[in-house]
């Protein structure tokens, strides 16, 4: 008997047990069957085939329409339970695939930044370089974290030497005005000294006093579903600036998003310092 035949036999026996007895004990058997199928590297098609064969056998002798319906519904519950292990594997596969895509993207971004640093202007020509760098960081951060907008700000030691770069989803011109608000830029100060980043859900953000004034100036800010900021720290511990990400559809910014943005902030800090930028 092959592995597949043994599995089909075990599945048919399990389903017969569930149709006779019902209950959680029998559903646990379905879950274990699914787990066995995954561990033995049987495919979901083989599980579907085993289920279909067992269901056909279970209804073959039935004449009553009500009984056939009861059996079919119960068999659906059993099947769903057996599929749950495949769901776990599928989600793991999706996560691994997304991780690989992010890692590739991240590597490409690091290469682009490295190229920019290698080809960058000398310290005397700091302004053009900084603007280019900040816009690039904002675009990369927004894309990697799937945020709707990103703002990167730095404040230099000399008057008028502050700079900013921003990126937002195409077609939404409202971001330009919103990101120019001084109180939006000041949100970066929420990150405690010495922290690598701060990540808040929309409800946590709107509860912060600094948001109350902003809500009056720009009511749209209260609809942000999440917010993430990572400061740019100089080697001597002074704050050079910050990367802020605004609003992400779905459950909000993740730990992986935070890690990417912190990495970007570290690279941006190094780039600025190497070019002679000093903190305010």
């Amino acid at each position: 008997m092959t592995e597949g035949e043994r599995f089909r036999e075990a599945y048919a026996k399990g389903l017969r047990g569930y149709l006779l007895v019902g209950g959680e004990g029998q559903l646990r058997i379905a879950y274990e069957l699914g787990r066995t199928a995954v561990a033995e590297e049987l495919g979901v098609l083989e599980l579907a085939d085993a289920h279909h064969g067992a269901l056909v056998a279970a209804v073959r002798a039935e004449r009553s329409g009500d009984e056939i319906e009861r059996i079919t519904r119960a068999a659906g519950d059993f099947f769903r339970e057996s599929l749950s292990a495949f769901e776990m594997v599928q989600r793991g596969f999706r996560e691994a695939r997304e991780g690989a895509v992010t890692a590739r993207h991240h590597a490409a971004m690091v290469r682009r930044l490295s190229d920019l640093l290698a080809d960058g202007p000398l310290p005397g020509d700091r302004e053009g370089f900084t603007d280019e760098l900040l816009v690039l960081i904002a675009e990369e951060a927004r894309e990697l974290a799937e945020a709707l907008a990103c703002l990167v700000t730095v404040a230099g030691a000399t008057p008028g030497s502050s700079a900013a770069g921003a990126s937002w989803e195409a077609g939404d011109s409202g971001w330009s005005e919103l990101l120019a608000h001084a109180s939006v830029r000041a949100l970066a100060d929420l990150v405690p000294r010495g922290s690598r980043a701060l990540r808040l859900r929309g409800d946590e953000l709107t509860a912060i006093p600094a948001m109350h004034a902003l809500a009056l100036e720009a009511p749209r800010a209260t609809a942000w579903r999440s917010w993430l900021a990572a400061p740019l720290w100089a080697l001597d511990g002074c704050r050079l600036g910050a990367i802020q990400l605004f609003d992400k559809p779905g459950p909000g910014f993740s730990q992986a998003d935070e890690d990417v943005v912190v990495h970007l902030a570290q690279m941006a800090s190094a780039a600025l310092e190497r070019r002679g930028w000093t903190a305010a």
């Binding site: 959680e24 004990g25 879950y31 561990a39 590297e41 749950s84 776990m88 596969f93």
Partner: protein, 151 residues
Amino acid sequence: MGDEARVPIASDADMVPARAEARALAEDLGFSPTDATLIATAVSEIARNIVSHVGLGEIVMTAIVEPDRRGLRVVASDEGPGIRDIEKALEHGYTSRKGLGLGLPGARRLMDDFDIASSSGGTTVTMTKWRFLDELERLRERRNSRPAERG
């Protein structure tokens, strides 16, 4: 509706009452049959983890009722030696079962919130599945919460 269920875990057989309690709470909270299955599966995985690595523990399941959502929180605790490298234990592919991402990583992927606290005195896994109320449910909630009007 009972809003808490406590199930001691000492053997594989205890997975059945733990699953049954999880499913009953999930159904009471209005989770779909598919979500109830995912919750029961996550509970099975952490119960199995306790039995395989420690031998003895407990799972406590609590219903959470908030204005716009319902949640089922599962807290599994044991007094074993703890997990040395939590991050590694949750990595995809790091399991003793051919690296297929079952066990703790599998449970994490089935739930919405997942947290592990571990020390030499034991491990606590806390995981929650959420269900957001639809517009009709929120309307009913508001209506039910209004004080009775005198006719």
